[in-house]
């Protein structure tokens, strides 16, 4: 299973190459929130590596409270952006895997 972005939508690609648009409003909202912070988003399981817990927490907080990103103009530099992207990828894959199971 793989997750990808097609036409600004999150899609799940199964082992046979079949694409299914992820019909999940919360994850869609998270994706758009992360995009507003990070700019371009890459979804790739291979970039996942351990980062400090705080990055996972920030992603989870945004997922649970989408307004969290809107209260302040927030500018992350490249390094924290990279770690947030990793945390976002992990969150996304964990969430989809959890649901699949």
């Amino acid at each position: 299973m793989m997750i990808d972005i097609v036409n600004d939508k999150l899609v799940v690609v199964d082992d046979m190459g079949n694409m299914t648009v992820l019909e999940d409003e919360s994850l869609e909202t998270l994706y758009h929130s992360m995009k507003s912070i990070l700019g371009d988003i890459i979804i790739d399981i291979n970039i996942i590596e351990p980062v400090e817990d705080i990055y996972y927490y920030i992603v989870e907080k945004i997922y649970k409270m989408p307004d969290y990103t809107k209260w302040n103009d927030t500018e992350f530099k490249e390094k924290p952006k990279q770690k947030l992207l990793i945390a976002f990828n992990k969150f996304l894959y964990d969430e989809i895997n959890r649901r699949t199971k």
Binding site: E52, I54, K61, M65, N72, E75, K79, P80
Partner: protein
């Protein structure tokens, strides 16, 4: 002059428990002893700690216990002020106003006075000198701190004059929280969401430098309650670096049952995280 809001938004706060000795016994406080002890700060330990923190933007909250009882408080304040990365904040029950009035005249020191013990039907009990007035609106960084105890909520309407005096930008209103020993019976705020407690665990609202044991304590709440001991760490450059980069503290078992108040918008706002993680 440092504005309080800038200090809150851009600096990580650390409580410096200079001494556990206090001259008051507030019912909602468990972070004190009436025993007179450790009233002179070990300057070698302070200077070493400040050196480890030298490159980080830190709001050093001097408290205890009552910092006004510390004999060399002037020396402590001067050491903190010598580094432009550090903001000095003093929380006192008004003993500082009596013994170190110069602190209130220095706008570079954020002075927070916690002088109300509680509200009752027939009086507001004060911690300090009854002749001391609440701080009027000022640009000297002098603040009133009022804890919104259950009694405050119950009786505040009986004191319109006091409430009017406190109604200015120099009054800080603090939610009542888990520091009261019988908090379980009179809980007025819900436990914060798990994610907020996780974020708090990574860097609490205020971790503690304990000057009595000369160590670093994860959380002032557990340290204060002393029921479940909060994680403690040696003061070293490595541990300070880890702490300031969110790598030292973990989500502990005591965080799971913690009832400390976290504002609904989250532990810290995202701009503060960005500011720190961008360093």
């Amino acid at each position: 002059m440092m504005k309080l809001i800038d200090a809150q938004n851009n600096y990580l706060a650390i409580d410096f428990f200079l001494t556990m000795t206090c001259n008051k016994d507030c019912h909602y406080c468990t972070s004190y002893t009436l025993e007179q002890r450790n009233l002179t700060v070990d300057m070698e330990f302070l200077n070493r700690t400040l050196y480890y923190l030298r490159d980080y933007k830190v709001r050093c909250n001097l408290l205890g216990g009552e910092p006004g009882l510390v004999k060399n408080l002037d020396e402590v304040v001067a050491a903190i002020k010598s580094n432009p990365n550090h903001v000095c904040e003093v929380l006192s029950n008004s003993t500082v106003r009596r013994r170190y009035p110069q602190i209130l005249k220095d706008p570079d020191i954020i002075y927070v006075e916690h002088m109300i013990l509680d509200f009752y039907e027939d009086e507001i009990t004060l911690l300090g000198n009854p002749n001391y007035e609440y701080h009027d609106e000022n640009d000297m960084n002098n603040y009133n701190l009022v804890i919104k105890t259950p009694n405050f909520e119950k009786y505040k309407h009986l004191y319109p004059e006091a409430m009017a005096k406190l109604d200015n930008k120099n009054t800080l209103w603090k939610e009542f929280n888990g520091r009261a020993p019988n908090f379980g019976e009179i809980q007025i705020t819900k436990q914060a969401a798990e994610i907020d407690r996780k974020m708090c665990a990574a860097f609490p609202m205020v971790p503690v430098i304990n000057f009595e044991n000369q160590n670093l304590v994860h959380c002032s709440k557990k340290f204060a309650n002393n029921a479940i001991t909060s994680k403690e760490f040696e003061i070293s450059q490595e541990n300070i670096d880890k702490m300031m980069n969110f790598r030292l503290f973990k989500y502990e078992n005591y965080c799971k049952t913690c009832t400390e108040y976290v504002q609904p918008k989250g532990h810290f706002n995202i701009k503060k995280y960005a500011s720190i993680l961008n360093e």
